[in-house]
C-alpha cells in the first residue's frame, strides 16, 4: 500500500506533470503561431480607401462633363479625368479588390455600370464621334450611387472583420493565459518533486554514511575484543605454568618446615627463580615488542635477499650448533630486493627460530631463496609438529598461540611482528602447514629494479 503510494507520488506524478507541461507548451506555441499568421492577413484593410478613391474620380469625371455641357470647349480635362477613372476601375477589377467586392455582393452591379460608362467614354478625344456626355453623366451618377452603397458595405465589412479579429485575438490571449497557468502549475509540481527528490537523496546519503561509520566502529571494537581475548588466553597459558612451579616450590618448603635441608631449599629456590625469569622474559618480550613497533624506522635499500638469508642462517647455527640448517640459493646471484636489511634479517631470524623451536632437534630445517614473477622469496621449512588447519588463519594475529605450541614458551607476538614488518617493506609472508609433517613460511619481497648491490 505504502509502496504504491510512494510510487505514484515519486514517479507517476512528475512524469505526468512533464507530459502535461510538454503538451501545454506545444499547444501554446501553436496558438501563438496562429496569431502571428493572422496578423499578416488584412484583406479588407484598404477597401474603403479604394472605393473612396474611385468615388472621387467618378464625381470628378462627372463634374468635368458637367462643365463641358455648360461650356463646351477643350476635352483635355475630361480626357484626364477619364484616365483617372479608368485607372480606378482597373484597380477595382484586380484580384484582391474584386474578391472583396464579390464578398459584399457588389462586384457584378459595379462592373456592369462601369462597363456602361467605359462604353460611352471610348469615344472621348475622337473628333468625328463625340460621346453622348449627357448619357455618360447619367451613367456616372448611377455608378456614384452604387459606390456610395458599396462604401457603406465596405465599412461594415471592415468593422465586422476588425471585430472578428479582435475576438480571435482576445480568445487566443485568454486561451494562452489559461495555458500559461497550466504551465505554471506543472512547472511548480515538477520543481517541488525535484526538491523533494534532492532532499531524499541527501537524507539517504547521510544514513548510508552513518551506517558505514557504525560498521567501522563495530569492526574496531571486534578487533580490540579479539586482541584482549588472545592476550588473555596467551597470558593464562604462558603465565600459569611458571606461577604453578613457584607455587609448588613454596608449598613444598612450607610443608617440610624447619626439617628442610639446605640443598632442598637451594633446589626449590632455583626452580622458583627459573620460573620467575620465564615470567620476566615473557613480560619483557611483550613490552619490547610494543616499544619496537612504536620506534620503528624503515630505511629501504637494495639488498640481496640470498645474502641476508645466508647471514641469518649462519647466526642461527652459532646459537644452536647441533642443528642441521640447510641453505639453498636458486636465484643464481640475482636476488636483489628493495628492503630494510635490519628488518628483513629480523623476519628471517624469527622464521628460523620458530622452525627450530617447533621441530625435533634431529630434524633438519631448510632455507631456500628463489624467484617468482616480480618477487624474490625466502622459504623456511621445518619437519616439525605443524599447525592445525583450524589455527592456520590466526597464526599472524597478535598474542595468538597455536594449540600445538602450548608446551613452548612464547607470547604470540613474533609472527605478528614479522608480518607487520614484511608489509612495511611492501612484501608479505605466506604460510602452509600440515600437522606432524611440518610448516613452511615464505617471505616475499618485491624485486629491486636496480641490478647492482650496494
Amino acid at each position: 500500500m505504502n509502496l504504491t503510494r510512494s510510487g505514484v507520488l515519486g514517479y507517476m506524478l512528475p512524469v505526468l506533470a512533464i507530459i502535461v507541461l510538454a503538451i501545454l507548451l506545444t499547444v501554446t506555441l501553436f496558438r501563438l503561431s496562429n496569431i502571428q499568421r493572422a496578423m499578416h492577413n488584412n484583406a479588407n484593410a484598404n477597401m474603403v480607401w479604394v472605393i473612396y478613391q474611385t468615388h472621387i474620380e467618378s464625381l470628378m469625371l462627372g463634374d468635368a462633363i458637367q462643365h463641358w455641357l455648360i461650356e463646351p470647349g477643350d476635352e483635355g480635362e475630361i480626357a484626364h479625368r477619364y484616365q483617372m477613372f479608368q485607372s480606378r476601375i482597373g484597380i477595382l477589377n484586380d484580384g484582391p479588390q474584386k474578391r472583396a467586392l464579390q464578398a459584399m455582393g457588389m462586384a457584378d452591379a459595379l462592373a456592369e455600370q462601369a462597363e456602361v460608362v467605359l462604353q460611352l467614354g471610348g469615344a472621348i478625344n475622337i473628333q468625328e464621334a463625340a460621346p453622348d456626355y449627357r448619357k455618360m453623366r447619367a451613367a456616372l451618377d448611377e455608378f456614384s450611387a452604387l459606390l456610395l452603397t458599396t462604401s457603406n458595405k465596405a465599412m461594415v465589412a471592415q468593422w465586422e472583420e476588425a471585430g472578428a479579429r479582435i475576438d480571435t485575438y482576445r480568445n487566443a490571449v485568454l486561451a494562452i493565459f489559461f495555458l500559461m497557468i497550466g504551465i505554471w502549475v506543472s512547472s511548480a509540481v515538477i520543481s517541488v518533486q525535484l526538491l523533494l527528490a534532492l532532499k531524499r537523496a541527501r537524507d539517504n546519503e547521510r544514513v548510508k554514511q552513518r551506517e558505514i561509520e557504525l560498521q567501522k566502529q563495530l569492526e574496531n571494537e571486534r578487533k580490540i575484543s579479539e586482541l584482549y581475548r588472545s592476550f588473555g588466553s596467551m597470558v593464562s597459558h604462558q603465565f600459569r605454568t611458571p606461577l604453578a612451579i613457584i607455587d609448588a616450590a613454596m608449598q613444598r618448603l612450607i610443608r617440610v618446615g624447619d626439617r628442610v635441608e639446605a640443598a632442598e631449599v637451594a633446589h626449590r629456590a632455583g626452580q622458583a627463580r627459573e620460573a620467575t625469569q620465564r615470567l620476566t622474559y615473557l613480560i619483557e618480550n611483550i613490552l619490547r615488542a610494543d616499544r619496537f613497533m612504536e620506534q620503528l624506522e624503515v630505511a629501504m635499500a637494495p639488498r640481496s635477499l640470498a645474502d641476508l638469508a645466508q647471514q641469518a642462517v649462519a647466526e642461527k647455527k652459532e646459537l644452536v650448533p647441533g642443528r642441521d640448517i640447510q641453505f639453498l640459493d636458486e636465484t643464481t646471484g640475482t636476488s636483489m630486493v628493495e628492503c630494510d636489511p635490519l628488518l628483513t634479517s629480523q623476519i628471517i631470524g624469527n622464521l628460523l627460530s620458530n622452525a627450530v623451536k617447533y621441530s625435533e632437534d634431529d630434524k633438519p630445517v631448510h632455507v631456500r631463496v628463489h624467484r617468482e614473477a616480480g618477487w624474490v622469496c625466502c622459504e623456511v621449512r621445518d619437519e616439525g609438529r605443524g599447525i592445525s588447519s583450524k589455527d592456520m588463519p590466526h597464526v599472524f594475529k597478535r598474542y595468538f598461540r597455536a594449540w600445538t605450541a602450548t608446551d613452548v614458551v612464547g607470547t604470540g607476538i613474533g609472527l605478528h611482528i614479522a608480518m607487520e614488518l614484511a608489509l612495511l617493506q611492501y612484501g608479505e609472508i605466506q604460510a602452509w602447514s600440515e600437522p606432524e609433517v611440518g610448516s613452511t613460511f615464505v617471505l616475499r619481497l618485491p624485486e629491486s629494479k636496480k641490478e647492482e648491490a650496494v
Partner: protein
C-alpha cells in the same frame, strides 16, 4: 591597459585614413554632384526635355532645367540602367515582373540632397517616403509591369515598387502605402 588603448586608437586612425582614401577614389566615379561649390556646373549638365514630360522632380535638388525643377522625359531617364524585379503586390494577384529605374539612380540624376521624397500622383495623392528606403532596398520607379508599359489609365506613368517578396519587413501595411502609382512628381525635402 594604456598600451592597449593606444594600439586601439592607432588602429582606428589608420582605418579612418584608409576609408577616406577609398571614398575619395569612389565618389567622383559615382556621380558628378555632391560638393556644394559645383552646383552651377551640375545644373548646366541637365538638358531640356525633347518629348512629353513624364516626371517632374523639385525641391532640394542640384540639377534642374526648368525654373529650379527637373523636367524629365522618358529619353532623359533612359540614360540610367534599367532594373528588373519580381514580386507580389498588395493590390494584384500573383507574382508580377516589374522593370524600371532604381529610385536612388533617379534621385542622383538630379543630385537630390534631402532625407525625404514626397511622391505625388496624377490624382494629387501624395506620400512622404524616407530616402533611406531607396538605399536600404532596390526600390524601383517602375515603367513596365509584365513587359507592358504602365499607362496613366492604369498605374502609369510610374509606379514605385518595393522588393516586397525579397524582404520580409517590407510585407507590412506601413510600406504598402508607399507604393505610389501614377507618379508624376517627386519633391525632395
Amino acid at each position: 591597459m594604456r598600451r592597449t588603448m593606444w594600439q586601439l586608437r592607432r588602429c582606428l586612425q589608420v582605418s579612418g585614413v584608409l576609408l577616406i582614401l577609398i571614398l575619395s577614389c569612389i565618389m567622383p566615379a559615382a556621380h558628378a554632384c555632391g560638393k556644394s561649390g559645383e552646383i552651377s556646373q551640375g545644373a548646366a549638365g541637365l538638358s531640356l526635355p525633347t518629348a512629353e514630360v513624364l516626371l517632374i522632380i523639385d525641391g532640394a535638388i542640384d540639377r534642374a532645367n526648368v525654373a529650379g525643377e527637373a523636367h524629365l522625359d522618358i529619353g532623359m531617364l533612359q540614360v540610367l540602367p534599367t532594373q528588373g524585379l519580381q514580386t507580389t503586390t498588395a493590390v494584384t494577384d500573383g507574382v508580377r515582373r516589374f522593370d524600371g529605374f532604381l529610385m536612388r539612380d533617379v534621385l542622383s540624376l538630379v543630385c537630390a540632397k534631402g532625407t525625404q521624397v514626397g511622391a505625388q500622383a496624377l490624382n494629387n495623392y501624395s506620400v512622404d517616403i524616407p530616402i533611406a528606403d531607396f538605399h536600404d532596398y532596390d526600390v524601383l520607379l517602375a515603367t513596365h509591369m509584365d513587359g507592358e508599359r504602365l499607362l496613366p489609365s492604369g498605374k502609369g506613368p510610374f509606379w514605385i515598387v518595393y522588393p516586397r517578396d525579397q524582404w520580409r519587413q517590407l510585407q507590412d501595411i506601413r510600406y504598402d502605402y508607399r507604393w505610389v502609382w501614377q507618379v508624376n512628381r517627386l519633391t525632395v525635402k
